[in-house]
Protein backbone atom coordinates (compact mmCIF):
# COMPACT_ATOMS: atom_id res chain seq x y z
CA UNK A 1 0.00 0.00 0.00
CA UNK A 2 1.38 3.30 -0.96
CA UNK A 3 0.57 6.59 0.72
CA UNK A 4 1.37 10.06 -0.48
CA UNK A 5 2.37 12.84 1.81
CA UNK A 6 -1.05 14.49 1.68
CA UNK A 7 -2.75 11.26 2.79
CA UNK A 8 -0.27 10.73 5.60
CA UNK A 9 -0.74 14.23 7.02
CA UNK A 10 -4.53 13.84 6.99
CA UNK A 11 -4.40 10.61 8.94
CA UNK A 12 -1.80 11.97 11.33
CA UNK A 13 -3.92 15.05 12.00
CA UNK A 14 -7.09 13.11 12.72
CA UNK A 15 -5.20 10.66 14.92
CA UNK A 16 -3.86 13.53 17.04
CA UNK A 17 -7.35 14.94 17.55
CA UNK A 18 -8.65 11.44 18.30
CA UNK A 19 -5.99 10.87 20.98
CA UNK A 20 -6.81 14.19 22.62
CA UNK A 21 -10.58 13.63 22.63
CA UNK A 22 -10.16 10.05 23.79
CA UNK A 23 -7.95 11.16 26.66
CA UNK A 24 -10.51 13.74 27.79
CA UNK A 25 -13.41 11.28 27.50
CA UNK A 26 -11.54 8.61 29.41
CA UNK A 27 -11.08 10.92 32.43
CA UNK A 28 -14.46 12.51 32.97
CA UNK A 29 -14.05 13.00 36.68
CA UNK A 30 -11.05 15.23 36.43
CA UNK A 31 -12.85 18.38 35.43
CA UNK A 32 -14.66 19.67 38.45
CA UNK A 33 -17.20 22.26 37.56
CA UNK A 34 -17.72 25.48 39.41
CA UNK A 35 -21.39 24.64 39.93
CA UNK A 36 -20.32 21.99 42.40
CA UNK A 37 -19.27 24.63 44.88
CA UNK A 38 -21.66 26.73 46.93
CA UNK A 39 -21.55 29.24 49.73
CA UNK A 40 -22.65 28.02 53.12
CA UNK A 41 -26.29 28.75 53.89
CA UNK A 42 -25.40 30.47 57.15
CA UNK A 43 -22.93 32.89 55.50
CA UNK A 44 -23.39 36.45 56.69
CA UNK A 45 -23.53 38.72 53.67
CA UNK A 46 -22.68 42.38 53.22
CA UNK A 47 -21.56 44.85 50.61
CA UNK A 48 -18.79 46.23 52.77
CA UNK A 49 -18.15 44.93 56.23
CA UNK A 50 -17.08 47.58 58.71
CA UNK A 51 -16.36 47.97 62.40
CA UNK A 52 -16.97 50.66 64.97
CA UNK A 53 -14.72 50.69 68.02
CA UNK A 54 -16.33 52.43 70.96
CA UNK A 55 -13.34 53.58 73.00
CA UNK A 56 -15.65 54.70 75.82
CA UNK A 57 -16.17 51.07 76.69
CA UNK A 58 -12.50 50.21 77.09
CA UNK A 59 -11.72 50.95 80.71
CA UNK A 60 -9.68 48.23 82.35
CA UNK A 61 -6.80 46.17 81.07
CA UNK A 62 -9.18 43.20 81.14
CA UNK A 63 -11.38 44.85 78.47
CA UNK A 64 -8.43 44.95 76.10
CA UNK A 65 -7.05 41.57 76.98
CA UNK A 66 -10.23 39.60 76.37
CA UNK A 67 -10.77 41.15 72.93
CA UNK A 68 -7.19 40.51 71.84
CA UNK A 69 -7.06 37.03 73.34
CA UNK A 70 -10.35 35.98 71.75
CA UNK A 71 -8.84 36.62 68.32
CA UNK A 72 -5.34 35.36 68.91
CA UNK A 73 -6.48 32.13 70.56
CA UNK A 74 -8.84 30.89 67.88
CA UNK A 75 -6.51 31.86 65.05
CA UNK A 76 -3.42 30.23 66.51
CA UNK A 77 -1.52 33.50 66.59
CA UNK A 78 1.89 32.78 68.13
CA UNK A 79 3.35 34.71 71.04
CA UNK A 80 7.14 34.83 70.89
CA UNK A 81 7.35 37.18 73.81
CA UNK A 82 9.49 39.77 72.04
CA UNK A 83 8.49 42.68 69.80
CA UNK A 84 10.97 41.76 67.07
CA UNK A 85 9.17 38.55 66.09
CA UNK A 86 5.73 39.72 67.14
CA UNK A 87 2.70 38.50 65.18
CA UNK A 88 -0.47 40.51 65.74
CA UNK A 89 -3.96 40.51 64.28
CA UNK A 90 -5.51 42.89 66.76
CA UNK A 91 -3.53 44.97 69.21
CA UNK A 92 -3.47 48.19 71.23
CA UNK A 93 -1.36 51.31 70.82
CA UNK A 94 -1.41 54.95 71.91
CA UNK A 95 -3.36 57.77 70.23
CA UNK A 96 -0.12 59.28 68.98
CA UNK A 97 0.83 56.08 67.15
CA UNK A 98 -2.68 55.21 65.98
CA UNK A 99 -3.58 58.69 64.68
CA UNK A 100 -0.33 60.46 63.82
CA UNK A 101 -0.96 64.04 62.81
CA UNK A 102 -4.19 64.28 64.76
CA UNK A 103 -2.66 64.48 68.21
CA UNK A 104 -2.08 67.85 69.77
CA UNK A 105 -0.19 69.11 72.70
CA UNK A 106 -3.12 69.96 74.92
CA UNK A 107 -5.47 67.05 74.39
CA UNK A 108 -6.88 65.32 77.49
CA UNK A 109 -4.21 63.32 79.27
CA UNK A 110 -6.58 60.34 79.46
CA UNK A 111 -6.88 60.24 75.69
CA UNK A 112 -3.19 60.80 75.04
CA UNK A 113 -2.19 57.69 76.94
CA UNK A 114 -5.23 55.54 76.28
CA UNK A 115 -4.42 52.45 74.23
CA UNK A 116 -6.55 52.24 71.08
CA UNK A 117 -7.71 48.89 69.74
CA UNK A 118 -6.14 48.49 66.30
CA UNK A 119 -6.61 45.91 63.57
CA UNK A 120 -6.56 45.57 59.79
CA UNK A 121 -8.75 48.37 58.43
CA UNK A 122 -10.04 46.31 55.49
CA UNK A 123 -9.70 49.47 53.41
CA UNK A 124 -12.04 50.00 50.50
CA UNK A 125 -8.97 50.94 48.47
CA UNK A 126 -6.29 48.72 49.98
CA UNK A 127 -2.70 49.46 48.91
CA UNK A 128 -1.60 45.97 50.01
CA UNK A 129 -3.79 44.40 47.32
CA UNK A 130 -2.34 46.67 44.66
CA UNK A 131 1.25 45.71 45.39
CA UNK A 132 0.88 41.96 45.99
CA UNK A 133 2.68 40.28 43.07
CA UNK A 134 0.92 36.91 43.50
CA UNK A 135 -2.55 38.20 44.33
CA UNK A 136 -2.25 36.38 47.63
CA UNK A 137 -3.92 39.36 49.19
CA UNK A 138 -7.12 40.37 47.50
CA UNK A 139 -10.42 42.14 48.06
CA UNK A 140 -13.44 39.93 48.59
CA UNK A 141 -16.87 40.90 47.27
CA UNK A 142 -18.04 41.60 50.81
CA UNK A 143 -15.22 44.06 51.41
CA UNK A 144 -12.88 41.84 53.36
CA UNK A 145 -9.22 42.22 52.47
CA UNK A 146 -8.33 38.57 52.37
CA UNK A 147 -4.99 36.85 52.70
CA UNK A 148 -4.54 33.58 50.79
CA UNK A 149 -1.63 31.97 52.58
CA UNK A 150 -1.37 29.25 49.95
CA UNK A 151 -0.11 31.91 47.58
CA UNK A 152 1.90 34.18 49.85
CA UNK A 153 5.56 34.12 48.90
CA UNK A 154 6.66 36.31 51.78
CA UNK A 155 7.94 39.22 49.71
CA UNK A 156 6.52 41.70 52.28
CA UNK A 157 5.51 44.30 49.68
CA UNK A 158 2.14 44.39 51.42
CA UNK A 159 3.83 45.25 54.71
CA UNK A 160 5.64 48.11 53.05
CA UNK A 161 2.41 49.31 51.44
CA UNK A 162 0.16 49.06 54.50
CA UNK A 163 0.15 52.39 56.35
CA UNK A 164 -1.39 50.82 59.43
CA UNK A 165 1.19 48.17 60.29
CA UNK A 166 -1.59 45.61 60.25
CA UNK A 167 0.50 42.85 58.73
CA UNK A 168 3.01 40.59 60.42
CA UNK A 169 5.73 38.47 58.91
CA UNK A 170 6.59 35.06 60.28
CA UNK A 171 10.33 35.28 60.78
CA UNK A 172 10.23 32.09 62.79
CA UNK A 173 8.20 28.91 62.73
CA UNK A 174 5.09 29.87 64.71
CA UNK A 175 4.17 26.36 65.83
CA UNK A 176 6.33 26.15 68.98
CA UNK A 177 5.08 29.57 70.16
CA UNK A 178 1.40 28.60 70.19
CA UNK A 179 0.41 27.57 73.67
CA UNK A 180 -2.96 25.95 72.99
CA UNK A 181 -3.35 25.32 69.27
CA UNK A 182 -6.93 25.44 68.03
CA UNK A 183 -7.21 22.23 66.00
CA UNK A 184 -9.98 23.69 63.84
CA UNK A 185 -7.87 26.50 62.40
CA UNK A 186 -4.53 26.25 60.57
CA UNK A 187 -1.35 27.79 61.86
CA UNK A 188 0.96 29.64 59.52
CA UNK A 189 4.41 28.66 58.35
CA UNK A 190 7.71 30.48 58.42
CA UNK A 191 8.02 33.05 55.63
CA UNK A 192 4.43 34.19 55.13
CA UNK A 193 2.62 37.41 55.99
CA UNK A 194 -0.56 37.22 58.03
CA UNK A 195 -3.22 39.56 59.34
CA UNK A 196 -6.80 39.92 60.52
CA UNK A 197 -9.38 38.57 58.05
CA UNK A 198 -12.49 39.86 59.86
CA UNK A 199 -13.01 36.21 60.89
CA UNK A 200 -14.20 35.24 57.43
CA UNK A 201 -14.24 31.59 58.54
CA UNK A 202 -16.70 32.53 61.29
CA UNK A 203 -18.86 34.62 58.93
CA UNK A 204 -19.21 31.48 56.80
CA UNK A 205 -20.71 29.75 59.83
CA UNK A 206 -23.05 32.64 60.54
CA UNK A 207 -21.03 33.97 63.46
CA UNK A 208 -19.74 37.50 64.00
CA UNK A 209 -15.98 38.05 64.48
CA UNK A 210 -14.52 36.67 67.68
CA UNK A 211 -13.28 40.03 68.95
CA UNK A 212 -16.74 41.57 68.52
CA UNK A 213 -18.33 38.68 70.37
CA UNK A 214 -15.85 38.98 73.23
CA UNK A 215 -16.03 42.76 73.47
CA UNK A 216 -19.38 43.09 75.26
CA UNK A 217 -20.63 45.66 72.81
CA UNK A 218 -17.48 47.75 72.64
CA UNK A 219 -16.91 46.61 69.07
CA UNK A 220 -19.72 46.67 66.53
CA UNK A 221 -19.55 44.83 63.24
CA UNK A 222 -21.90 45.30 60.30
CA UNK A 223 -22.57 46.28 56.72
CA UNK A 224 -21.67 49.91 56.20
CA UNK A 225 -23.52 49.95 52.87
CA UNK A 226 -26.78 49.17 54.65
CA UNK A 227 -28.33 52.37 56.08
CA UNK A 228 -30.25 50.40 58.70
CA UNK A 229 -27.27 48.56 60.11
CA UNK A 230 -26.00 48.99 63.64
CA UNK A 231 -22.69 50.43 62.44
CA UNK A 232 -24.49 53.11 60.47
CA UNK A 233 -26.65 53.94 63.49
CA UNK A 234 -23.50 54.42 65.57
CA UNK A 235 -21.87 56.52 62.86
CA UNK A 236 -25.00 58.68 62.65
CA UNK A 237 -25.23 59.30 66.36
CA UNK A 238 -21.56 59.69 67.29
CA UNK A 239 -18.59 61.67 66.14
CA UNK A 240 -16.06 59.17 64.80
CA UNK A 241 -12.54 59.28 63.45
CA UNK A 242 -10.60 56.88 61.26
CA UNK A 243 -6.92 56.12 61.10
CA UNK A 244 -4.97 58.06 58.46
CA UNK A 245 -8.06 58.73 56.34
CA UNK A 246 -6.05 61.40 54.51
CA UNK A 247 -4.09 58.68 52.70
CA UNK A 248 -7.15 57.76 50.68
CA UNK A 249 -7.18 54.05 51.45
CA UNK A 250 -10.72 54.49 52.83
CA UNK A 251 -10.41 52.45 56.02
CA UNK A 252 -13.65 51.06 57.43
CA UNK A 253 -12.72 50.79 61.11
CA UNK A 254 -14.21 53.79 62.92
CA UNK A 255 -13.40 55.04 66.41
CA UNK A 256 -15.74 56.72 68.88
CA UNK A 257 -13.50 58.72 71.17
CA UNK A 258 -13.53 58.59 74.91
CA UNK A 259 -14.10 62.21 75.85
CA UNK A 260 -13.78 62.60 79.62
CA UNK A 261 -17.26 63.11 81.08
CA UNK A 262 -16.04 65.97 83.26
CA UNK A 263 -15.17 67.90 80.11
CA UNK A 264 -18.58 67.27 78.51
CA UNK A 265 -20.65 68.08 81.59
CA UNK A 266 -18.47 71.14 82.24
CA UNK A 267 -19.26 72.35 78.74
CA UNK A 268 -22.98 71.89 79.31
CA UNK A 269 -23.05 73.81 82.58
CA UNK A 270 -21.29 76.73 80.91
CA UNK A 271 -23.74 76.81 78.07
Amino acid sequence: MSMDRREFLKIAGFSTIGIGVGWILSRPGEFLEASQFLQTKELLKAKQWAMVVDMRRFKTEEDYRKVIDACHKIHNVPDFGNPKDEIKWIWADTFEHAFPGQENEFMPESMKHKPFILLCNHCENPPCVRVCPTKATFKRKDGITMQDLHRCIGCRYCMAACPFGARSFNYRDPRPAIKEPNPEYPTRMIGVVEKCTFCEERLAKGQIPACVEASNGALTFGDIADPNSEVRRLLNTNYTIRRKAELGTRPVVYYILDIPTSVVSGGESNA
Binding site: G29, F37, L38, Q39, T40, K141, M146, E184, R188, A204
Partner: protein, 132 residues
Amino acid sequence: MYDGGKILVGIVIFVLFAAFPFYNNIGKVSAKPEPKLDTPVIQQLSEKKCVEPKDFMRAEHMQLLNNWRDFAIREGKRVYINSEGKEFKISLQNTCMNCHSNKKEFCDKCHNYAAVKPYCWTCHIEPKEKQL
Protein backbone atom coordinates in the same frame (compact mmCIF):
# COMPACT_ATOMS: atom_id res chain seq x y z
CA MET B 1 40.56 0.61 17.13
CA TYR B 2 43.32 2.10 19.24
CA ASP B 3 43.40 1.04 22.89
CA GLY B 4 40.39 -1.20 22.32
CA GLY B 5 40.96 -3.04 25.57
CA LYS B 6 40.97 0.10 27.66
CA ILE B 7 37.82 1.39 25.95
CA LEU B 8 35.98 -1.89 26.51
CA VAL B 9 36.99 -1.97 30.18
CA GLY B 10 35.87 1.63 30.47
CA ILE B 11 32.51 0.88 28.90
CA VAL B 12 31.99 -2.09 31.21
CA ILE B 13 32.84 -0.01 34.28
CA PHE B 14 30.52 2.77 33.11
CA VAL B 15 27.63 0.39 32.48
CA LEU B 16 28.11 -1.28 35.87
CA PHE B 17 28.19 2.12 37.54
CA ALA B 18 25.21 3.56 35.67
CA ALA B 19 23.11 0.46 36.20
CA PHE B 20 23.90 0.19 39.91
CA PRO B 21 20.42 1.30 41.07
CA PHE B 22 18.82 -1.38 38.94
CA TYR B 23 20.84 -4.47 39.90
CA ASN B 24 21.16 -3.29 43.48
CA ASN B 25 17.39 -3.43 43.86
CA ILE B 26 16.82 -6.73 42.04
CA GLY B 27 15.02 -9.11 44.31
CA LYS B 28 14.28 -6.49 46.93
CA VAL B 29 10.56 -5.99 46.68
CA SER B 30 9.43 -2.98 48.60
CA ALA B 31 5.99 -3.61 49.94
CA LYS B 32 3.11 -1.98 48.12
CA PRO B 33 1.59 0.55 50.46
CA GLU B 34 -1.78 -0.36 51.87
CA PRO B 35 -3.34 2.69 53.45
CA LYS B 36 -5.50 1.91 56.44
CA LEU B 37 -9.02 3.23 56.55
CA ASP B 38 -9.58 2.02 60.06
CA THR B 39 -10.43 5.00 62.28
CA PRO B 40 -13.14 5.31 64.94
CA VAL B 41 -15.11 7.79 62.83
CA ILE B 42 -14.98 5.65 59.71
CA GLN B 43 -16.01 2.56 61.69
CA GLN B 44 -19.12 4.35 62.83
CA LEU B 45 -20.19 5.39 59.32
CA SER B 46 -23.13 3.34 58.09
CA GLU B 47 -21.91 3.77 54.53
CA LYS B 48 -18.16 3.86 54.30
CA LYS B 49 -17.84 6.40 51.50
CA CYS B 50 -15.53 9.30 50.85
CA VAL B 51 -16.74 12.52 49.23
CA GLU B 52 -16.21 10.96 45.82
CA PRO B 53 -15.80 7.33 44.65
CA LYS B 54 -12.67 5.51 45.76
CA ASP B 55 -11.05 5.35 42.32
CA PHE B 56 -11.54 9.04 41.76
CA MET B 57 -10.12 9.92 45.15
CA ARG B 58 -7.16 7.63 44.63
CA ALA B 59 -6.22 9.27 41.35
CA GLU B 60 -7.45 12.83 41.78
CA HIS B 61 -7.46 13.74 45.47
CA MET B 62 -4.72 16.29 44.90
CA GLN B 63 -6.72 18.09 42.20
CA LEU B 64 -9.79 17.94 44.40
CA LEU B 65 -7.94 19.44 47.35
CA ASN B 66 -6.44 22.09 45.12
CA ASN B 67 -9.91 23.01 43.86
CA TRP B 68 -11.29 22.96 47.37
CA ARG B 69 -8.77 25.42 48.69
CA ASP B 70 -9.22 27.79 45.76
CA PHE B 71 -13.00 27.82 46.04
CA ALA B 72 -12.98 28.13 49.84
CA ILE B 73 -10.40 30.88 50.17
CA ARG B 74 -10.63 32.80 46.95
CA GLU B 75 -14.35 32.54 46.16
CA GLY B 76 -15.65 32.06 49.68
CA LYS B 77 -17.55 28.96 48.60
CA ARG B 78 -17.16 26.46 51.38
CA VAL B 79 -19.70 23.82 50.42
CA TYR B 80 -18.86 21.04 47.95
CA ILE B 81 -21.56 19.06 46.18
CA ASN B 82 -20.30 15.67 45.11
CA SER B 83 -21.28 13.57 42.11
CA GLU B 84 -24.21 12.13 44.06
CA GLY B 85 -25.52 15.54 45.07
CA LYS B 86 -24.44 15.28 48.69
CA GLU B 87 -23.07 18.37 50.43
CA PHE B 88 -19.77 18.51 52.27
CA LYS B 89 -18.05 21.27 54.16
CA ILE B 90 -14.79 22.22 52.49
CA SER B 91 -12.05 21.81 55.05
CA LEU B 92 -8.93 19.70 55.05
CA GLN B 93 -8.50 19.92 58.78
CA ASN B 94 -12.12 19.55 59.83
CA THR B 95 -13.72 17.45 57.08
CA CYS B 96 -11.03 15.22 55.53
CA MET B 97 -9.03 14.62 58.67
CA ASN B 98 -12.12 14.13 60.77
CA CYS B 99 -12.63 10.75 59.09
CA HIS B 100 -9.02 10.06 58.14
CA SER B 101 -7.62 10.80 61.55
CA ASN B 102 -4.89 8.20 61.07
CA LYS B 103 -2.61 10.40 59.00
CA LYS B 104 0.46 8.17 59.45
CA GLU B 105 -1.36 5.08 58.25
CA PHE B 106 -3.48 6.75 55.62
CA CYS B 107 -1.64 9.70 54.07
CA ASP B 108 2.00 9.10 54.89
CA LYS B 109 2.13 5.48 53.76
CA CYS B 110 1.57 6.26 50.11
CA HIS B 111 3.25 9.65 50.17
CA ASN B 112 6.42 8.14 51.59
CA TYR B 113 6.31 5.27 49.11
CA ALA B 114 5.94 7.68 46.21
CA ALA B 115 8.42 10.15 47.76
CA VAL B 116 5.80 12.89 47.60
CA LYS B 117 6.03 15.53 50.28
CA PRO B 118 2.94 17.73 50.35
CA TYR B 119 3.46 20.80 52.52
CA CYS B 120 -0.12 20.93 53.76
CA TRP B 121 0.98 20.07 57.28
CA THR B 122 3.29 23.02 57.74
CA CYS B 123 0.09 25.00 58.39
CA HIS B 124 -2.85 22.66 58.71
CA ILE B 125 -2.84 20.86 62.00
CA GLU B 126 -2.84 17.11 61.66
CA PRO B 127 -5.20 15.24 63.96
CA LYS B 128 -3.86 13.73 67.13
CA GLU B 129 -3.44 10.05 66.46
CA LYS B 130 -5.64 7.96 68.67
CA GLN B 131 -4.21 4.63 69.68
CA LEU B 132 -6.58 1.88 68.63
